[in-house]
């Protein structure tokens, strides 16, 4: 009898041993399908994906619905609907664009009519941004303020902001809980059909991280699939030479196909700096007065208006500015080494070549990709 008890206890303990050594993934819990990001040729391998929000197929699917669903505002009246996609339009590289029907000139305003402080930044390749989101980079991964670190936080801020959705996270959460189909999608994405705003943030951020643009004509040129014409090649040389237009130090090129350093520069737009939301607000470094993020130039052709305040409507105006209209100040970034000449002094044919090169960064596949587009039906549609 005693031997039997010993064997019983020992067997139980051995079973416990195997259970204890079991990996989490072997436990009987719901696990969504991991979403793998394919790294395009020449692109960075380090991704900005927070540990507490891994990418999943189900999360991205839910995020796409939420990104486009006007009930993100917490309201259901047709006049009061507002979502990310209200301003961030795929055909304009997820900016408003100068031809937005509701935001003349591309200057967006919130649901109450209050204009946003700055114009929009494009939602392109944000999964590779490690140095701060927003024109002044106020959301960054190691921010001591935990609520201001990543795209997830941008979602919440956009819902709450008076000059954007002007919503209430509790109301929005309750609304999606009540909409047929959504609780199931939340279960599939996060293992619980209880809708939380945290999971709304996570799902939308996951979708935004899938918005990858890497198939422009320039990408194809990099991959050896197409040849650029002579004017475009001339423009490429101007883009990447100090004696030319010297765009590459801030905006990348072959060796940095993101076409941004994701850093912040005073690029000589003004002599007096009064904007309380420039980089100086974040860094506290006086040399950052009037400094803003160097935007990616991918799809820049459709992303007007340009600069943080949208002062230029066309790329031609931007090139003219960098050629002849730079303004000296104590805060000008040293990389603007043509400042004492007022600019890079391009002649008309060079301006055209540079423009033609910049247009090779347009990625129509990105702007028509069905995976990024408005869903044909929402979860509660029949």
């Amino acid at each position: 009898m005693r031997r039997f008890v010993y064997i019983l206890i020992f067997t139980g303990i051995v079973a416990l041993f195997f259970e204890a050594c079991k990996k989490d993934s072997e436990l009987d819990v719901y696990t969504p399908t991991p979403y793998m990001i394919d790294i395009p040729f020449g692109f960075p391998t380090k991704l900005n994906i927070p540990d507490d929000n891994p990418m999943t197929v189900e999360g991205v699917k839910l995020g796409r619905y939420l990104f486009y669903d006007g009930r993100l505002s917490g309201r259901t009246h047709p006049d009061s609907l507002m979502s990310c996609a209200t301003c961030h339009r795929q055909q304009r590289s997820f900016e408003a664009g100068v031809d937005h029907p509701d935001f003349p000139g591309g200057f967006p305003h919130g649901i109450t009519g209050l204009q946003t402080h700055h114009v929009m930044l494009p939602m392109i390749n944000l999964v590779w941004n490690h140095s701060g989101y927003g024109w002044n980079g106020f959301l960054y991964p190691d921010n001591p303020v935990e609520e201001l670190r990543n795209i997830e936080d941008f979602v919440r801020l956009a819902v709450l902001a008076k000059d954007e959705i002007d919503g209430d996270t509790t109301i929005t959460t309750a609304l999606f809980q009540s909409i047929q189909g959504y609780p199931d999608l939340f279960y599939q994405a996060f293992g619980s059909d209880k809708v939380t705003f945290k999971n709304i943030e996570r799902a939308i951020a996951q979708f935004i991280r899938t918005l990858i643009s890497a198939n422009s004509r320039f990408d194809k040129y990099m991959r050896g699939e197409v040849q650029l014409n002579q004017s475009e090649l001339n423009g490429f040389v101007l883009f990447t030479t100090e004696e030319g237009a010297d765009c590459f130090h801030c905006h990348g090129g072959y060796g940095n196909p993101l076409f941004t350093t994701h850093l912040f520069y005073n690029n000589g737009k003004d002599t007096v700096f009064t904007d309380p939301f420039d980089r100086y607000k974040i860094s506290g470094d006086p040399m950052d007065k009037g400094a803003y993020k160097a935007t990616t130039l991918r799809n820049i052709e459709v992303q007007g208006p340009y600069m943080h305040d949208g002062r230029f409507a066309t790329l031609e105006e931007v090139i003219e500015f960098y050629s002849h209209d730079l303004k000296q100040s104590p805060y000008i970034n040293p990389l603007m080494h043509h400042i004492n000449n007022g600019g890079v002094q391009l002649i008309p044919s060079e301006k055209q070549d540079l423009l033609n090169f910049i247009k090779t960064l347009r990625d129509d596949d990105f702007m028509t990709n069905p995976a990024f587009s408005r869903p044909e039906k929402f979860p509660d549609d029949q």
Partner: protein, 279 residues
Amino acid sequence: MSNTKKKKKKAMKIISYLNLIILSFLLIGSSCKKNDEPIEDQSGRLNFYFTHVVAEEEVYYDTIRYQNAAGNPFMVSEIQYFISDVTLHKGDGSKVLIDAWKNMHYVDSDLSDTWQWKMKDSIPPGIYDSITFTFGITEEKNHSLMFVNQPESNMFWPEYLGGGYHYLKLNGKWKDTNDVIRPYNFHMGIGQIYDQNSGEIIGFIHNDFDVSLKNSGFKVDNNETIAFTIVMDVNKWFEDPHDFDFNYWGGDIMQNQDAMFIAKENGYNVFSAHRMIEK
């Protein structure tokens, strides 16, 4: 059997069960344990810590407070560079290349996590007379798209100008002879040879160079880590053997091989090494 004996026997039985349970838990604990016991390192290690000075004073950024040998008042805004091929030299002429190939190091005055380089390769115990390294990246290794992640990828050197990566970006401003403040981009990398008639690029020159650190001899034992502070004196880029005058060369030199050649010649004396004790 008396009650006392019965109780004693019962107690013994409980103790036996408990012993078995404890033994089994010990078994579980040891079985689940990762194999992370440190293996005794039969070699030494080398760490570099980078600092930047002007005339022995740590660089004070973004203020025109320095003057170079040519008399140009100047300031420093940021310093970014690669060093590679750290090599240890012995008295018998033999040498050890550490951190070969992949682990060239990027230093950025704005990014504190780049200010130290704890090299992964181990060092055979022994006495070493000196340390050398390559400033920049040698032709053999300086390939475009070798670094795809930022910040290193921001150092790319345009294909048209030779490709690969900047060895150095030293950015700031200087005051010209009319007291006008002008930006400078003292950038080094692959130089170009231009056809004098057409202006086309007809060849490239690799401007990387080997730095031999004075007073960098050391002895290293098993399991010992040797640390050096590697000091860049910014002013030395502009002197010895050539005075570099911004008013003559201007603010940008990427497309000026003559200027980069001067930078290279001056660069041999820019770095010094100082042994330090790590706490």
